[in-house]
């Protein structure tokens, strides 16, 4: 999708093509990448903890969600980390409260989402580029190699490209593009620490992140990306309709024992012998035994508009979302995701306002 936007002759495109190809066919890094320092030619293997194989008698407990179903994790959002970029932001979700035994283990049970975003532009397109009446938006999302439990490659893979496309749709609807004809803006996000797809104890020997059917962590990452990009775009001073914020909600299985005071808002009925379906916002995948469906929205709260919607999963007992009852379930999930986005928007608004006040103060000082 990025090929038609770029000059086909440039080195850039060749590399993109190469990246694209190697993303699909998994060419070993040692064979292709001659511009980086590669590891030992024989290849090394990730660490295997004896406790994850059940050896040694130590058992590890799954972290459990102790926040209420309609509470977000704490968000830290700050703008202006990259002074040389036109706009930048950093977002961190604090890990949910530890169960107490994580501190003595090297394999942490929960991880925190950490994202940095830099916005470059708007800047003029090169003379050779064809005329565009709208601003050209390009988004890049890259996971750092130490972002997940499994080491990630340096070249963007399919799941990262997919996330970037989702982000682009979310942002395209917000930026007032026709104010900058013949110019481009780049949104670059680096994931320093990603969300996990499931609890590591459930992975029997080298689970993968992203791309697979599970990929629940990706939804949280996308919501974080939307929020952090929105803050960075505001920091860059690019005109937008509103601040777009990302929210996630999921339908999860909660053990009956933990399910106190079933409230009508989040409870979705019984499943199996001792579990209940529950709607939660901002799910941390490692805290839930089973996630059935999840939904991400990019939401403009003052205009009540959704610019990006990504819903996936399957509610048990159903195979499609065709009957009215199931439509209601989808509606409920969507409403919860919007609710999450509205709550995130409060943090986002506060961070942007703080940065703007700081900037205004500086400008006043400079004038004096």
């Amino acid at each position: 999708m990025s090929m038609n936007r770029k000059n086909l002759d440039s080195e850039d495109t060749k590399w993109e093509l190469q990246e694209f190809v190697s993303g699909w066919y998994e060419i070993p890094a040692a064979m292709t990448d001659r511009r980086r320092i590669n590891g030992p030619p024989g290849g090394s293997s990730p660490v295997i903890f004896a406790s994850s194989l059940g050896i040694g008698g130590r058992s590890v407990k799954r972290p459990s969600r102790i926040r209420p179903p309609d509470e977000l994790r704490k968000i830290f959002l700050k703008t202006g980390l990259t002074p040389l970029a036109s706009g930048s932001a950093y977002l961190e979700l604090s890990p949910s409260a530890n169960t107490g035994e994580t501190c003595d283990s090297l394999a942490p049970s929960s991880s925190a989402l950490k994202l940095t975003c830099a916005v470059h532009g708007p800047r003029p397109l090169p003379r050779s580029a064809p005329f565009t009446p709208q601003i050209q938006l390009s988004t890049h999302i890259k996971f750092a190699s130490f972002a997940a439990r499994q080491r990630r490659g340096y070249i963007r893979d399919a799941s990262e490209r997919d996330l970037a496309v989702h982000l682009e749709t979310a942002l395209r609807g917000v930026i007032i593009g026709n104010r900058w004809p013949k110019s481009s803006v780049e949104v670059v996000i680096t994931v320093l620490e990603g969300e996990e797809d499931r609890w590591w104890g459930d992975e029997t020997g080298g689970g993968t992140t992203g791309g697979s059917a599970g990929g629940w962590g990706m939804m949280n990452v996308l919501a974080g990306c939307i929020t952090v990009a929105s803050a960075a775009i505001a920091d860059a001073g690019i005109d937008c309709l509103d601040l777009v914020s990302g929210g996630v909600a999921a339908i999860v299985k909660t053990p009956q024992s933990q399910h106190e005071a079933p409230d009508r808002d989040t409870d979705m009925g019984e499943i199996g012998k001792n579990g209940r379906l529950q709607l939660v916002i901002d799910p941390a995948p490692s805290e839930h035994q089973e996630i059935y469906a999840a939904c991400v929205v990019g939401y403009l709260s003052t205009r009540d508009e959704i610019t990006e919607l990504w819903l996936k999963g399957n509610i048990p007992g159903t195979t499609s979302f065709s009957t009215p009852m199931q439509m209601a379930e989808v509606g409920g999930l969507l409403d919860k995701a919007v609710e999450a986005a509205v709550a995130v928007r409060l943090v986002l608004g506060e961070a942007v306002r703080e940065a703007a006040e700081l900037k205004a103060g500086q400008n006043r000082n400079n004038k004096e």
Binding site: S45, F49, R58, T82, P83, K114, A118
Partner: protein, 351 residues
């Protein structure tokens, strides 16, 4: 004082001078020169010349550190020098002896070659994180990223920071018979491989010092889990208890300091050898763009008796131009020693 004046933008005549930022952009070279040149005539009470960023020519940016913030890395650090910010994460993986192609025989004390021959330290630098407008993603690693990674790797090997025995995973075969006879032979079953990834969050000059400092800090922060060879599964298993993990022991703490040499002579012009030159410590991106020559000194000091330090030069790199002579190099090494002291104090405060 300025506030007491009534603002009268409408009456004031159009100013004929540029604001600072415009001057810097239009003619950067004279801008820097105007800052560095001592005032004429020299008087006692004027302040010494400052660089455009407000620092003295020999003043470094104070380092700001943080370690151990990444969950999935064995060791991590964040280093901030002014507007240059670097994140370094180290991931330890296991290289089984069976994966080493040619039968490698480790010679016990033969430390220096073992790590290098097996390639156990793998530093990589990522600049395309949008850290500055010059480095945008979608492109292969830039020449700067490649040279930085190569320089870091060669310095890592040259300084011999980590002993090979730290990275070996040994196996002592159990006694063959009941009497405890036989066996007991030590065998290297695997090695730890450290993937060192350095990401620039923000780049405002002097990438090497920041990258090297973050690398050292992350190495210092690295904890390797207790690893053992499991003969039944025929693989290396690890214990996830923090209490059993061990920190990497670093033999020394070499500090890198980079200086740019700025000469009053404009780029490209010939002659005029007598023009002034300044040594700027820890240059930022604006100064780096104007200086042709730069010197990187890596020093490793030892505290001698009586409060002094004994300086050892580990590496000296000088690029582009020959205006810095013996005297300047000597001066630069002295400043690098001072810088080593600063880092020592910072680390003591941090630890």
């Amino acid at each position: 004082m300025a506030a007491s004046k009534p603002p009268s933008p409408a009456i004031s005549p159009p100013s004929l001078s540029f604001p600072r930022a415009t001057f810097a952009k239009l003619s950067p070279h004279p801008f820097l020169l105007a800052h560095l040149q001592p005032p004429t005539p020299p008087s006692a009470n004027t302040t010494p010349p400052h660089r455009p960023n407000g620092r003295l020519p020999t003043q470094f940016r104070p380092p700001n550190l943080h370690t151990g913030s990444l969950t999935h890395a064995s060791g991590s650090s964040v280093v901030r020098l002014g507007d240059t910010a670097v994140v370094c994460g180290i991931r330890a993986e296991i290289l089984p002896a069976s994966n080493v192609g040619c039968a490698y025989t480790c010679g016990g004390s033969d430390d220096d070659t073992e790590i290098q021959a097996l390639g156990l330290l793998v530093p990589n630098v990522e600049l395309s994180t949008g850290c500055s407008p010059a480095h945008l993603p979608g492109q292969p690693p830039s020449p700067l990223a490649q040279t930085l990674a190569a320089r870091l790797q060669s310095l890592l090997y040259a300084t011999n920071l980590i002993g090979a025995d730290e990275l070996r995973i040994m196996y002592v075969s159990p006694p063959a018979d009941d009497a405890g006879e036989g066996g007991g032979a030590e065998e290297v079953k695997a090695w730890w491989t450290l993937y060192i990834d350095i990401l620039f969050i923000s780049l405002d000059g002097n990438p090497f010092d920041a990258a090297w400092a973050s690398l050292l800090l992350a190495l210092k922060d690295t904890r390797l889990p207790l690893a053992y060879w499991d003969p039944d599964l025929a693989c290396v298993l690890c214990d996830d208890l923090v209490a059993n993990a061990k920190r990497l022991r670093m033999r020394r703490w070499p500090v890198a300091s980079t200086f740019a040499v700025y000469s009053a002579q404009e780029r490209g012009s010939v002659g005029g050898d007598g023009a002034g030159k300044w040594i700027l410590a820890d240059p930022d991106a604006f100064e780096e763009g104007l200086c042709r020559e730069s010197v990187t000194v890596v020093v490793d000091c030892e505290e001698a008796e009586g409060g002094g330090v004994k300086t050892r030069i580990v590496r000296l790199e000088k690029r582009g131009g020959g205006s810095a002579g013996k005297a300047e190099i000597k001066e630069v090494v002295e400043m690098a020693t001072e810088r080593w002291r600063v880092w020592r104090d910072v680390l003591k405060g941090n630890a």
